[in-house]
Subunit: 351 residues, 2 copies
């Protein structure tokens, strides 16, 4: 990777790799016969959303009302894939949003359905969240029918079901998670049909499980990380380092005979580390990963000829969504030249 | 904890607890006979810095030039406790800063000293970083003399030595780390004296090791986390939950018979988790900690009578510095009433 002069620590985007990733996922979705609704929480950047939409995405997924408010600037079809608790303030914001764009929200309880319905938001679609094995949020098939029916009776427009197969995030787990996603969506679809509800949307997907999506059962997928990839995807075998499109860049600020310390710490990389991860981030130029991380220090063992003080070193974050959410802007590189700066428009948009 | 109506997820400050923590650490420093130079990377807020200075702190510690630029607004004596690599851009920024405030910077290599000296910054003091056992940055006593001498010969104003006993962050490690800090600072002091350098500043300290600081050997301490405390300090036995002055607040958005999911995920709490930590954050009202964390979900087991959907639940972040750096503002509460909003002025100030 060619690096221009940069003020470190910073995040850089390899534009060629980003565009290739956007094209590849759109191609996969087309081959599978499913709609692609990328999750924008990964990149939080309007220029990337615009590229995904131009590349064939049917709309965007977001995690929060605040993210929806940001992406409504470039996208007219947004799904908030989250079991929202719609209090008065959120109700007002959803109403304003629904007057600007087509909007869907998630629900996984009768109580949340009742809160939502109280705001009388005729333009808002509802998808019922189903648990496909991550055991985080979502209900089983019977629960889906109960929640869906409550929503319909409260006057909400039920359009189907969704799930997040987050248990795909473990070695060897992507293919089984893809199967379980299909099983859960099919069961929930059947349960909703039995009570006479619309099931035209069956939405799933994550980056690791994307290739294992069952077209037909699943109508739409919502991968996010694929635009950049990250160390987790590389370690899971989902991506090669050539596909990684976002790097933190640190400067060697301290140096021993067999290691260096870079200035891209956890306030740049994020501190995410799965139990199966090799370290706190991969360093393509080094023999191994970041082995210790503090807020402003990333320690990298480098047994032979560690780079000189002042050297710029790219690091692949473990979890790119977390790294991006720490930055105010991404520096965009093409062939080693800085060609743009993209504001992280939805950084911190958690509410 | 009384909570007013809040838009969640958010971070709230218990102002009474904050003020008590500021007073207590100032009292400890006075009893130990050391100067207190709190690390502002924890709170990144000007109103908190002002309270620390009013409470007797001699100045502030920061981690980056960008943080120094922010805190120069309220503080005239700043130490950047970091082995800076001072390229042309940083050199210009340090010059501007040094014209506004008294400024010190860290060095741990001859090469960094030469870079710094090239910018001819007569007003900038230099402290040599010493490794007291964390094995992150810093040199041994001989290295300290070599780096210090190089600095003096290059025309820099060497004022002494500093260390960060970060290895205090483990169960039972605080007292030994306090001893090792004193041993390392004393050895470095002797080495610098032998080559005729000023050693009037011997700076150390962290929140866990603060009570074990050796006054006399150590002249100044730089704890940061103490203003808020966090789950790490509670689990290390350094603080009680009564001393915790910052909480994330989440809403129950999903609920099973024996657990709840809150909307304060890793994009609010941060993902820091030491090997010895019970979970991803402590939940004072629940029987146990956050056991699973994704970007917008915190899963909390709650075997008996989990709170209803929509309930606000306070969570103590594992590492408060990381949580604060994710937020744009802190909501300030006194006796359950919202009395102020403090911008996180130095959020993301990593360069």
């Amino acid at each position: 990777m060619l690096l221009p002069e940069l003020v470190t620590p910073c995040l850089v985007v390899d534009l060629d790799a980003l565009e290739a990733n956007i094209t590849a996922m759109a191609g996969l979705a087309a081959r599978l016969g499913v709609d692609l609704r990328p999750h924008a929480k990964t990149h939080k950047c309007l220029p990337i959303a615009a590229r995904q939409l131009a590349g064939g995405a049917v709309g965007l997924t977001v995690a929060t009302v605040a993210e929806a408010e940001v992406f409504a600037e470039v996208c007219t079809d947004l799904f908030i894939a989250y079991p929202l608790w719609v209090d008065a303030a959120r109700g007002r914001r959803l109403r304003e949003l629904s007057e600007r764009v087509r909007l869907g929200v998630g629900v996984d309880s009768v109580a949340a359905v009742e809160m939502l319905a109280a705001h009388r938001l005729p333009g808002v679609d509802v998808l019922v969240e189903v648990d496909s094995g991550q055991h985080r949020t979502g209900v089983g098939p019977d629960g889906a029918a109960e929640v869906g029916l409550a929503a319909a009776r409260a006057g909400l427009s039920v359009r189907g079901v969704f799930t997040f197969p987050g248990h795909a995030y473990a070695p060897g787990a992507a293919a089984p998670a893809g199967s379980e996603e299909a099983v859960a969506l099919r069961a929930a679809e059947a349960a909703l049909r039995r009570v006479g509800l619309d099931t035209s949307v069956r939405s799933g997907g994550s980056t690791p499980s994307a290739a294992h999506t069952r077209g037909g059962v699943v109508t739409e997928m919502r991968p996010g990380v694929y635009v950049f990839c990250d160390a987790q995807q590389v370690e899971l075998g989902v991506a090669t380092t050539d596909q990684v499109a976002l790097f933190a860049v640190g400067t060697v600020v301290s140096r021993g005979s067999d290691r260096v310390v870079l200035d891209c710490g956890s306030k740049v990389l994020g501190a995410d580390r799965a139990g199966w991860a090799a370290g706190f981030g991969l360093v393509p130029d080094a023999p191994g990963p970041v082995v210790a991380l503090s807020e402003h220090h990333a320690t990298v063992p480098w047994p032979r000829e560690p780079p000189a003080l002042g050297t710029l070193v790219p690091v692949i974050p473990n979890h790119v969504c977390a790294a991006v959410n720490l930055a105010d802007e991404l520096l965009v590189l093409r062939a080693g030249a800085l060609v743009d700066r993209w504001p992280v428009a939805a950084r911190g948009a958690n509410t």
